[in-house]
């Protein structure tokens, strides 16, 4: 039989996650005033990925979800990876080889 217990996270946890998201939002705005060249993008993306992870794990209850649901979540990331990597393999390598006659 499937165990009949819905995980109820404590309110305290939600408050902590919200405050963390708030601090990270100010941080991501703050770092744009520091010139890091191309690394500004990677810092901004890193913060966004961390914020998204907090939302998925705690607000969306991924931490306590059944294993099957967790596999679906990770598989959706795999498909995004396929979309991105196959497209970049084309677009971002077009200048690497010389084309005769051009």
């Amino acid at each position: 039989m499937v165990e009949h217990t819905q995980h109820v996270a404590p309110v305290r946890l939600y408050v902590v996650v919200f405050l963390a998201l708030l601090v990270l939002t100010f941080l991501t705005v703050g770092v744009t005033y520091v010139d890091m060249g191309e690394y500004n993008l990677f810092v901004a993306l890193g913060i966004a990925i961390f914020k998204a992870s907090l939302v998925i794990l705690y607000f969306m209850h991924a931490r306590w979800s059944p294993r099957l649901v967790q596999i679906v979540m990770l598989t959706s990331l795999l498909f995004i990876g396929i979309l991105a990597s196959f497209s970049f393999a084309d677009y971002l390598t077009r200048g690497l080889l010389g084309v005769p006659g051009r």
């Binding site: 039989m1 499937v2 165990e3 009949h4 819905q6 109820v8 996270a9 309110v11 939600y14 408050v15 996650v17 919200f18 998201l21 708030l22 939002t25 100010f26 991501t28 705005v29 744009t32 005033y33 520091v34 010139d35 890091m36 060249g37 500004n40 993008l41 901004a44 993306l45 913060i47 966004a48 914020k51 998204a52 939302v55 998925i56 705690y58 607000f59 969306m60 209850h61 979800s65 059944p66 099957l68 649901v69 679906v72 979540m73 598989t75 959706s76 990331l77 498909f79 995004i80 979309l83 991105a84 497209s87 970049f88 677009y91 971002l92």
Partner: protein, 219 residues
């Protein structure tokens, strides 16, 4: 056939044994739907990435026409609404009808604030001729063409995101009606949980849109 230990409940569909099983099936279906949503937005994020790689300088110049303050303000409004949504789900899980109503109304209010700010920002773009089309004008002629591509991507992504917000507000209104009738309890709260997943997903999309559109380059 119901298993002998099945808990009889008005909301239990006949093809499920227990409410727990029913909720897990809904959760799986919702995440599969969100996977398709992720790929839907993924195509636009991909277009964004390619154009940014092709026109990095124009991207910085065009992005500086967006107001960081209002972008950050809306980010705070959305993460606060995600928090109140999580609290609405919590209220349903603990059987608090009053809590559900309060937190659903707060979530809707914050969602409305977000859309109001978005409408104001869009109006500002129309005023400054930054809407792609024949009337598009850009102060730096070197970047005029690529800046128009930036604003096409901006309106497509934020527009589709805003459409998701409007749909989310409709779903919240539907939940609010149910919560007022006392439909959702500690035993049965699947709709609240599922709309919560949708709302958080829309929040996550914005978490990426904000730095990618408003915070390009060094300020």
């Amino acid at each position: 056939m119901h298993s002998p230990d099945a808990i009889s409940h008005a909301r239990l569909q006949h093809h499920f044994d227990t409410l727990e099983q029913q909720q897990q099936a809904s959760t799986l279906g919702m995440w599969l739907f969100l996977a398709t949503e992720l790929l839907f937005f993924g195509g636009m994020f991909l277009a964004y990435t390619l154009y940014r790689a092709w026109y990095p300088d124009a991207w910085v110049a065009a992005s500086h026409h967006l107001d960081v303050f209002w972008g950050a303000f809306n980010t705070v409004a959305l993460i606060l609404s995600s928090f109140t949504m999580a609290m609405a789900v919590h209220a349903a899980q603990t059987g608090s009808r009053q809590g559900q109503i309060v937190f659903l109304v707060l979530t809707m209010a914050l969602g409305t604030v977000f859309l109001g700010v978005k409408a104001m920002e869009y109006a500002d773009k129309f005023d400054h001729h930054l809407v792609p089309g024949p009337g598009f004008l850009f102060d730096d002629p070197r970047y005029a063409r690529a800046a128009q591509i930036f604003f096409s991507v901006y309106f497509a992504m934020t527009g589709v995101h805003a459409l998701h917000m409007v749909i989310g507000l409709g779903l919240l209104l539907w939940l609010l009606a149910g919560a007022r009738r006392g439909t959702f309890t500690a035993e049965y709260n699947t709709p609240v949980e599922m709309v919560g997943l949708y709302w958080h997903f829309v929040d996550i999309i914005w978490i990426f849109l904000f730095p990618l559109l408003y915070l390009v380059g060094h300020h």
